[in-house]
Symmetry: none
Subunit: 211 residues, 4 copies
């Protein structure tokens, strides 16, 4: 139909989109506050002031909504992890370090901004095996991205030859996970920044005396 052409969302359609997003937000808040299993569809609807029957006009079931909520959480974190380093691939050690710093800052910012994000990621694997797989998939996505950067660094020569890029990428992701874990309990910006700095140091200098 002609009038459906991209640029012209009906008023009704926009409202629909807004309500849909509202449900996702409400669900996020409920899940973050009480956990997935302790949250009822009625809770999500009530918090939003809609009837809980309405929920099912926008999402197929409880599992469906949590899928969307987690996807959104992951998307936000991925955005923080990737947005700032998109422009160009670093070609010197300084560039790379700067990029790691930018990522650390972005992560610190987003985690400090909303500590429920890491909490969600922490608790999501308990929902069911599939959700667990999704979270692990998210970790792996981030890890593969990291691995590519490391590989590029080795190829380009600013990272150590012989570096086990795959294994090291796991370790680096682990440190990012640590950042998220600690954000659950200590979301203060300063703490996050210290953690980011320590990770940087560890990566670029190790913990020993500079040799």
């Amino acid at each position: 139909m002609m009038w459906t052409m991209s640029a012209a969302p009906t008023l009704a359609e926009r409202r629909k989109q807004e309500l849909r997003q509202g449900i996702i937000d409400s669900a996020f808040e409920c899940f973050a506050a009480q956990g997935y299993h302790a949250t009822g569809i009625a809770d999500i609807a009530t918090r939003l002031g809609i009837g809980h029957g309405t929920f099912y006009r926008y999402f197929a079931n409880k599992r469906d909504i949590v899928e969307h909520v987690v996807d959104e959480v992951i998307a936000k974190i991925i955005a923080a992890l990737s947005a700032d380093n998109a422009p160009e691939v670093p070609d010197t050690i300084a560039d790379y370090r700067a990029q790691v710093e930018r990522i650390g800052d972005a992560l610190a910012r987003i985690l400090t901004d909303d500590p429920r994000l890491p909490r969600m990621v922490l608790e999501a694997p308990g929902i069911d095996p599939q959700m667990s797989a999704k979270i692990l998939g998210f970790y792996d996505l981030a890890r593969r991205l990291t691995e590519r950067y490391l590989a590029h660094g080795v190829e380009t020569g600013y990272l150590r030859e012989g570096l086990d890029v795959e294994a090291t990428s796991h370790a680096i992701i682990g440190m990012i996970v640590a950042t998220m874990l600690s954000a659950v309990q200590q979301p203060e910006a300063q703490h996050q920044r210290r953690l980011a700095a320590a990770i940087q140091s560890l990566m670029f200098e190790g913990i020993t005396h500079e040799h």
Copy 2:
């Protein structure tokens, strides 16, 4: 009959202990396979071939059993993390590196041995807030232990002066978490060993060229 007084648990008592442990194991298997919430008491009992009423002779409720299961999992991991480094506190960089290696090996061994261990740790925080707190507490316990070692290293002089021991301990624990996460999907011994080696390298040399 002449019983040796002290260490003589009745046959019945031994059976009781065995059944109790059997229930814990069965529960562990169910939780690992289907997740806490999808597991019914009946599942645990049936898998063991006992009536589900029997379960309640040994554990107060579903929450009680998962507590025991998780405690056992944590105990195993803590044992791996701490047993080998108990003897003496490292006083040289070589000692410390050796200890880190031993821990890595022990961890690799136990995770390879039973990949459901890390899966359980991964999924436990989704059970409820208290369990979440317990897991975070476990992480924090390990972290504080690491922090003490780092502090000792700095004091003794074999670690860099000015090292942010607290933040760094978070990062190191993150890498241990990474080990566990990867063990869920790649429990092969070789992979675990590579990961342990990479962590060591990262800690003691960083990822850059040795300067």
Copy 3:
């Protein structure tokens, strides 16, 4: 449509009230027929032809419904006991005797009408200590009312000076209880009326020859 604002309960609302009352009635019948403990929520629901989940939309739990059932039973009996003697306080022995007669008639009428009422009162104390207390409280309420009337009679002079109004009120309530007890097995109106007459005789003449 021109609704008269105030007393216009929606159709839905009226249905709701009706269903609620239906559940109370159904529960009353079940409890009366099988006793509280032998009655399952499913019985109450099935007898009414509704799903047993529906029950919980109207009452919090099994205890809640029996509370309502008993309250209703008590209310009916209290109404019988008090409605007819409300108008004015009797000031002569004839007035008082007439009032006692009215109460007796009203009680006979209601007990004959539904013999499950006294049965419920009889069995309620076995539900739990709180219910027991409620029933005893109901007896005591009636007793204190009776006591007030006796005291008024003594003050006014148409009852014997020196009458132990408190103890006598207990005795009179006991005779009302007897009426209820016998109604369980002999609900026929005639029997009830004879009993009421005998109680009157006992109160006003004793069992001996008029002296």
Copy 4:
């Protein structure tokens, strides 16, 4: 068999009888303290210090024991109601009044002695319809006894001609029930005695001025 002849209960047999009685007593205490439904077989056995399996060597099931407990309670009350008036049937108004007094005293004594007796009678009808019938049967037994005495009084001439002996017996039993009801809450001897006196007064003089 010869040696079974009445007078020679084996030691073992006596022990058995004692344990049996012990179980009844223990059950009575449990039922009185927590109610029938809240009492488990295990409670009864534990209070007595025996294994709960042993219970079933003496009583068929939970229903069986409560039957015995209630029977014993009823027997005690019947004894109080009938023991003292057994010797001879009263033939004058004074004799009868004296007898009523003796009964009242005996009742007061036993209720004051153990207020759990009336409580048991009060709560027993809630156990199940059969128990309810038993209690009603007990009331009726006492009532018929009373009725016989009243009839004798009328025949003999010391009670009013035309007295509705059946209905009046209901009323009198009601007052005895009142005594039991009030004993649940006020077991003090003095209160019981006042109540007995009031009942006597009511029976023999009515509540009005002596005419």
